[in-house]
Symmetry: C2
Subunit: 186 residues, 2 copies
């Protein structure tokens, strides 16, 4: 922090856990940067499968009432912690996006890298169903066992922005992930 | 956590600080719930002003390189910590949205309440300019001095979802906030 050399840490307590068929991350982080865990065509196929799969968000039953009314939204945002990224990887500053050496290196804040100073990841998902303290969602890319940090409603007034643009390298990632079908980058 | 009675806390270290003309939150939290800090018409006017104002995200200069390439995006997501919400308010489970007694009580995870179990707030903003370790953005609703948790690119492939729906009470909040003009709920 510019005005404080030893900022006080902020603490999060998991509010639940992800149950998913995804057992390993698509990207792994070393101190050299990111790398894909498999060949691009296999990653792409797995990614497409995962986009269609239903995952469960099991919320701590002690947080009684906290989900009430969430079933009124078609979509939600899931904030979660990528628990399989080693904490020493939080120091990465620049990476080749998706571990692709053919794409120019970018600062972590320009990427969706799971290894980042504060690894709180975010995915917008379809809310399929609520059953008590369990939400079933479609489109979650979190690995099984990920601690859930927060659930927020997807409010299009705030989140659906017209006319946004991304750099060429991000469009290329999307194109390459989407090649096998209409559903692409998550 | 369902399988662990004493989950390990996850720690965040601020990566920067918000500089904004917003000096006080629109909503305050007590153990009775949320309340608006002023009359609705004044809140609405302030909200419209704030949507147009430029705020600064001052990133810790020690994180050299972490912003490289972010200027290639038209919009970014800012994750920040609402530092003026007392930590004991993290236990709130259900609230009247926006502190409005005329709206039915909802679970915190169905609302955008700043008081929540893990108070990491999220706003999508227009990236106006980068100057070294400072990002100038339009549309940020964070209070001056808020610790910044993360910056992510706004990637429309993942965030701009068609056909999403919200419950009637959320539409009503938007309508009431938008009444004075075309720019509404943040």
């Amino acid at each position: 922090m510019p005005e404080n050399n030893a900022p006080e840490p902020l603490t999060l307590t998991p509010v639940g856990v992800v149950r998913s068929e995804i057992k390993a991350p698509m990207l792994t982080a070393t101190d050299q940067g990111l790398s894909l865990s498999d060949r691009l065509d296999k990653i792409r196929a797995a990614h497409r499968r995962h986009r269609q799969a239903v995952a469960e968000l099991v919320i701590d039953p002690a947080l009684d009432g906290v989900l009430d009314g969430v079933e009124g939204f078609s979509h939600i945002l899931v904030l979660y912690w990528p628990h399989l990224v080693p904490s020493e990887r939080r120091g990465l500053r620049r990476v080749h996006p998706m571990g692709r050496q053919d794409l120019p290196e970018q600062g972590i804040f320009a990427t969706c890298s799971p290894a980042r100073p504060n690894p709180v990841l975010l995915t917008a998902v379809r809310l399929v169903e609520r059953e008590g303290n369990v939400l079933r969602v479609r489109g979650l890319d979190a690995v099984d066992g990920s601690p859930i940090v927060d659930i927020k409603p997807y409010v299009h007034y705030a989140l659906k922005i017209e006319g946004t643009t991304v750099p060429e390298w991000m469009e290329r990632i999307h194109r390459d992930m989407a090649e096998a079908g209409p559903e692409g980058h998550g």
